[in-house]
Point group: C2
Chain length 398, copies 2
């Protein structure tokens, strides 16, 4: 029997999805499970964009251009201008979700053995894409006491070696919800220029900032050759299943290189590009309601969490995630216990153990990530469950 | 300015798409270009499957399961049974086109530095996926005089080293149209068992076999742990733009490994999975008409080609491609000349130089690949162009 590859063996299983079999068993018992474990919003996909797909007059569903339909890329120029980013349609490439944008960026910029520095906790799938590309992730710890602000630049300087080729940020951040300040991005800008590093900026949650100013990596001066934005419509329009994203860079050589990877896989999904293109035409006030709704949820959830005995949750500035510190021994054990053993009025809650978001072993054992993707009633019921669970949990710590 | 990666530099540009700028310039002149250069069928995507997408009642377009919707995978069990392949839905994973199936297969089975043996000429994008995975392609030449039959097993044996880990075939073949016989597959089966090699079988064109018997790699006894089928709905239902494929294997460890790569990219396209699932419900006689149409086209094209002075084209047993040998000095130069200089009644034809399908430098200089994806009238006009072009071409050889 032939062996699987080393990278196949080393490839991490999704830390978010590994509890799924327990959740399925719980549901089969007739127990209601509140899913705060995954960034799957319950917000309706805008009917107008679904209608655009329904009404599309397609005789032959052909390959599109490998970079994505030109009409869509041209419209995205307007979208990006609207959020303060000036790019041409030759600097935008449509990808199969934000996932493919990350994958293409890693493959085109990084050699096997190269290192990328990522503030932890970070989006766990960066590990998977790094593993597939043979790249080493070097984590730099951000701390819950600081609300997960950018770690000091000195910490980055300490980790930079001859193999360091890029810094990856997610802004606003998944899993912390932290929104990087202009000063923090300015510091990263200087660091990238000083050491000639790429700056990968995952801006999937750009639309969801609550008060603070959003600054894109593409707005940083002098970083034209270094900045690569990884984007997606998944969260922006609550269309996770469409699998449409984009990689945006002004670096022409890099764009042409990414295009070769794009050509190998022929084209991004065709039906979903129609959806994406229609979404650009949504009125600008479209985001008001989802954003206000997420804000209400954040306020409810963070207030409830901080009112619980022994719980601390910094107030996130963006996205729809928060990380909370709980009075527990082990977040993996706690999250599994919630599904396997805990019941509150025939209900329980599913959370993501924060351990899966740290690159440094042993961190995140007292932390969980919560995605506020449920309506206020369900979210409130989920908080009732969690509050009761913390009281009852056998592994409760002081 | 940071450097792009070595693999990015080495990544081959698509040999099929590199002539596109010349074709665009030609069209801007008002010249009609017959596209025989790319496997984009003109067959209508079945209206029933497009309707399934239009009628889908979707409030929130959510992530699907990383392996693809269970309902779709269960239906595919019936589809595969219908073509003589017995698998369960736990052995089928939905991918983003056949492209992702190849990519996942390479990543999960092969280490950087490993070698895969592929009979040449072969589908050019295997080079791209091998480059992305750090894998070395070792070509074994099949010959136009033999109709591109499988090269002798002795040729394979000669190329097998300690690094050889897999054999890749495309059956029926793109770009040659060759349909491998049961005896040839039996020989490969024995070879794979003897040397413990994976057998990747790209069966994108399974439905289009003209007379001969189609044998799947999954029908080969004793190869349960070695056989990996890479599949797609692109050609089967003329839905290239949907980007839905599948990787099918009975090797459980491999399936679980591929699932980790699938989890990292979250899910395959959602709208197109609806299309794919609806396609399984098409009546079994659905293929009769497209297959008959391709057969008429093949017969016309191959007859026309072989009637041209100095041209030889073996009769392909499947898919919708043929490779023809022409009396020319250099197929790259000839194909560019067709677009830049040759005009026949304000028309010309676009072909793919076969050089791009060979791994061995220098081969394919007198050969072109033709995809018979145009209706009989257009195909006939394209043959008129080609016949006249061969007469006029300044680089005509004896």
């Amino acid at each position: 029997m032939p062996k699987i590859s080393n990278r196949g063996a080393e490839m991490p299983a999704s830390p978010i999805r590994k509890l799924v079999p327990f959740a399925e068993a719980t549901k089969r018992e007739g127990v209601k499970v509140y899913h705060l474990n995954i960034g799957q919003p319950d917000i309706e996909t805008p009917p107008a964009v679904m209608d655009a797909v329904r009404k599309a007059d397609i005789k032959v569903l052909e390959y599109s251009h490998s970079a994505g339909n030109e009409s869509y890329r041209k419209k995205l120029v307007d979208y990006y201008r609207g959020v303060g980013i000036e790019v041409t349609h030759h600097e935008i490439m449509i990808t199969t979700g934000g996932s493919e944008a990350i994958q293409f960026g890693f493959l085109a910029c990084l050699n096997p053995g190269d290192e990328v520095i990522i503030p932890e906790p970070f989006y766990a799938n960066y590990n998977g894409f790094a593993c597939a590309a043979g790249v080493r992730v070097v984590p730099i710890t951000s701390h819950i006491q600081d609300g997960f602000a950018l770690p000091p630049i000195a910490d980055f300087e300490q980790k930079i070696t001859a193999n360091t080729k890029a810094i990856v940020i997610c802004n606003p951040n998944n899993p912390t919800g932290y929104l990087y300040s202009r000063a923090e991005l300015e510091a990263l800008r200087q660091l990238c220029i000083k050491h000639d590093l790429y700056l990968f900026s995952d801006e999937a949650y750009r639309e969801f900032c609550y008060g603070g100013e959003f600054v894109s990596a593409l707005q940083l001066e002098g970083l034209e050759q270094h900045a690569i934005v990884m984007d997606t419509i998944s969260k922006r329009y609550s269309a996770c299943g469409a699998r449409i994203g984009a990689i945006v860079t002004r670096n022409k050589e890099l764009y042409q290189t990414v295009l070769k990877f794009a050509q190998a896989r022929l084209s991004p999904p065709g039906l979903a590009q129609i959806l994406g293109e229609a979404a650009v035409d949504l009125p600008s006030h479209y985001f008001d309601e989802p954003k206000a709704e997420y804000l209400r949820r954040r306020d409810l959830m963070v207030a409830r969490l901080n009112a619980m005995d022994g719980v601390f949750c910094p107030n996130p500035g963006g996205a729809f995630y928060a990380i909370a510190q709980l009075p527990i021994d082990d977040s993996d054990r706690f999250c599994q216990w919630l599904l396997e053993e805990f019941r509150h009025e025939k209900q329980t809650v599913m959370l993501a153990p924060a351990t899966g978001f740290y690159g440094t072993a042993g961190l995140g054992k007292k932390e969980v990530r919560l995605a506020y993707v449920l309506n206020l009633t369900d979210l409130s019921a989920a908080m009732d469950c969690l509050e009761e669970a913390i009281r009852q949990y056998p592994g409760r710590s002081a």
